[in-house]
Symmetry: none
Subunit: 122 residues, 4 copies
Amino acid sequence: MDFVFDNERPIYLQISSLLRTQIVSGKFQPGEKLPSVRELALAAKVNPNTVQKALTELENEGLIYTERTNGKFVSSDANTILIAKNALAKEKAAKFFEEMQNIGYSDTEALNYINHFGGEGK
Amino acid sequence: MDFVFDNERPIYLQISSLLRTQIVSGKFQPGEKLPSVRELALAAKVNPNTVQKALTELENEGLIYTERTNGKFVSSDANTILIAKNALAKEKAAKFFEEMQNIGYSDTEALNYINHFGGEGK
Amino acid sequence: MDFVFDNERPIYLQISSLLRTQIVSGKFQPGEKLPSVRELALAAKVNPNTVQKALTELENEGLIYTERTNGKFVSSDANTILIAKNALAKEKAAKFFEEMQNIGYSDTEALNYINHFGGEGK
Amino acid sequence: MDFVFDNERPIYLQISSLLRTQIVSGKFQPGEKLPSVRELALAAKVNPNTVQKALTELENEGLIYTERTNGKFVSSDANTILIAKNALAKEKAAKFFEEMQNIGYSDTEALNYINHFGGEGK
DNA sequence: GTGGTCTAGACCACC
DNA sequence: GTGGTCTAGACCACA
């Protein structure tokens, strides 16, 4: 797991969203134990408190839970995770349409654009 | 023009991005005079310094220019504006694909999702 | 505002629940500005970070909100606050019944006990 | 006997309070032999040390006593147990009034609330 | 002056 | 070894 941070957003949010995507994308399986706070801090070269703050976010979202003295685990409720994944996807799509609309594309034009873009642009 | 701000991002960035979208979307036409800094500040209920900072952003991007003692104007170079618009659109689309990929969608799946989403979700 | 802490629970939780009760009980009015993080920290003789953590709790509950660079304010939505108050009361009552039941009082007996207790015991 | 723990409080305290309520509520009769530490540990799926720590609590309160080589027994002094029960009840009631007061209910209002709540809420 | 972030480092309870 | 809490102190962006 490699951590590269930009200076635009708080590090703890970058960590939490990185882990969030790893959970919803299945790289961390439901019920799986996460690396310890200290390990993550070491890997990310940040202070353990920063990791702690990141994980608190995910815990509030119900994506992970804590067993005291034992570690932190991905929620074993696959449904919660699926819901989170869908929520994220929906959010991304809605944001795309909204932003395209702001710069003068109707939803239809935005769809045209991205279908065209996806085919060649990348 | 109504201004609603969230507390997540700096206000000056919210103002500049709002004006930017109004320029590229044609709500402000090429060569058109912008409202004065004071007027904008009044409308947005913020400090004129904040508006000034926002406009500096746009000026750096070449979207507006200043005539001393006369005011600020939208660039009359329609091409500059079109380029800005395309750059924005491309950026949005790329970001969408990247974020979908992070949560486990291939580019193809992301396209499927958004075509489906655009058709019914909104 | 005087702060006295016990060693049983984390200080930040004691601070947040103290402020929570002051909000729901109306000592802090809807929309009212809270003392700054630094002021509270000074008054409670704790580190500003600790106060910050306490206030984050309340913000997550929707009881307060933040205006960046301006301060933190009690939610102006009186309804949110009322709901929080009712939730707290309900929680307290439910806990009472549950605990009494655990030590062998039926709900009816618990009611008898507390009506009797309330009349003389205090 | 089923044990379900939360991660908020130390497990040994959760065990001791569970056993305490079973004693004062009569599920364990005065003089009755308790299950062995090992049995309890097995049932609760915790380390025997943890059970031991829980039982020490109860022994300090005089609710149980140890016969070396023979096991641990509920105190045969019914009075001790009754006193413990009353102390618990009184404590619960006082806590209820105090907490309700904190969120803006006078003792009278709290009584009204709980009589009403007990009648319908559950 | 306001909140927000982050670090270094310490200490604790628990198992 | 695990997570949790707290401090002291620094630095930053914003308005």
